[in-house]
Symmetry: C2
Subunit: 177 residues, 2 copies
Amino acid sequence: MLKLAILGFLHDRPLHGYELRRHLAALTGHVRPISDGTLYPAIKRLESDGLLVRSTEPGAAAAPRHTLRLTDAGRATLLDRLRTPDDLDVSDENRWFTVLAFLRHLDGEPAAQAAVLRRRLAFLDEPASFFYEGDRPVGAEEATDPFRRGMLLIARATTAAERDWLRTTLAELDRSV
Amino acid sequence: MLKLAILGFLHDRPLHGYELRRHLAALTGHVRPISDGTLYPAIKRLESDGLLVRSTEPGAAAAPRHTLRLTDAGRATLLDRLRTPDDLDVSDENRWFTVLAFLRHLDGEPAAQAAVLRRRLAFLDEPASFFYEGDRPVGAEEATDPFRRGMLLIARATTAAERDWLRTTLAELDRSV
DNA sequence: CGACCATACCTCGGAGTCGAGATATAGCAA
DNA sequence: TTGCTATATCTCGACTCCGAGGTATGGTCG
């Protein structure tokens, strides 16, 4: 997902590592900021895969900055990823939000965008329960402790809100196909 | 967090690995089920740390089962973790839910439970924005594409629902101190 | 009887991630 | 001048994690 996020940000405009770090910190930041030891190796991987190139620009700032820009392959990889919902991990809040953040890059392809949303909707419609007592799931009403009850209530509210948004947005996308 | 979850489940009653796997799949399952290659090494780590012991019971089922039970050190480690909110990563949805799932083990310590909830509430009250355009954050109303707007709307709804629950639960806990 | 599935556990290689630290410059303040 | 902070990048070891595979046994179905 870090890979997707990097490609996603660079699709807007070239950035150097430090700027990218700030963008990533905002996106994932309230969740878990990535460290330098994660970011810079990830950049190198993408570079050696030919998905981005760097151009060193000295003088500008304190330390020499490496401006990163997507190659055509990088741009294609990003869009291909978004176009194949089955390969996207839509089951994790954080990963899903990363997808959502860059789905706009598929502009002009409302059907492809809708397919991604539909996949998430299908996932949300799967019945989920967090706990089992023996063989049967524990619902929000049955949980005797306030904390597990809270979990289930919050999850329910969250899911409902997202499902609403998904449905209305899907309706709009379908109209524009 | 896997460590916390294993200790948390074993606090209720001894389980063998396969049962534990099922419980973990339910808890994290709608997010990302853990694999055997993660679970069994984790069990071994906890074992060699002296936090749990295994007793092999042959005959019962197909393959020999290893029943896992917490040691006193294991139980103490679990409770200590929960009692020190500063050490808990409360900023990630998944991790936070794991904490919430086992906070009931601090029964009889409403003040300690409240401290954990307060930490989460403080985190939620921090202003968060996912995107920057240059230097200024992009709000839900400003986002021109429906997807980033959706992210921000969903995040807002989620946060509001959880904040409500946190406040009412905190009020109840404070009454019982 | 053989095929198959669920139970039950383990190992290995490869990859990603983190934290801590190293390096360097520019600018500002004491 | 010394020191601090922000900019900007990189490396290293340790650890965790995953996927793929391997090894068993017991039960069910045809």
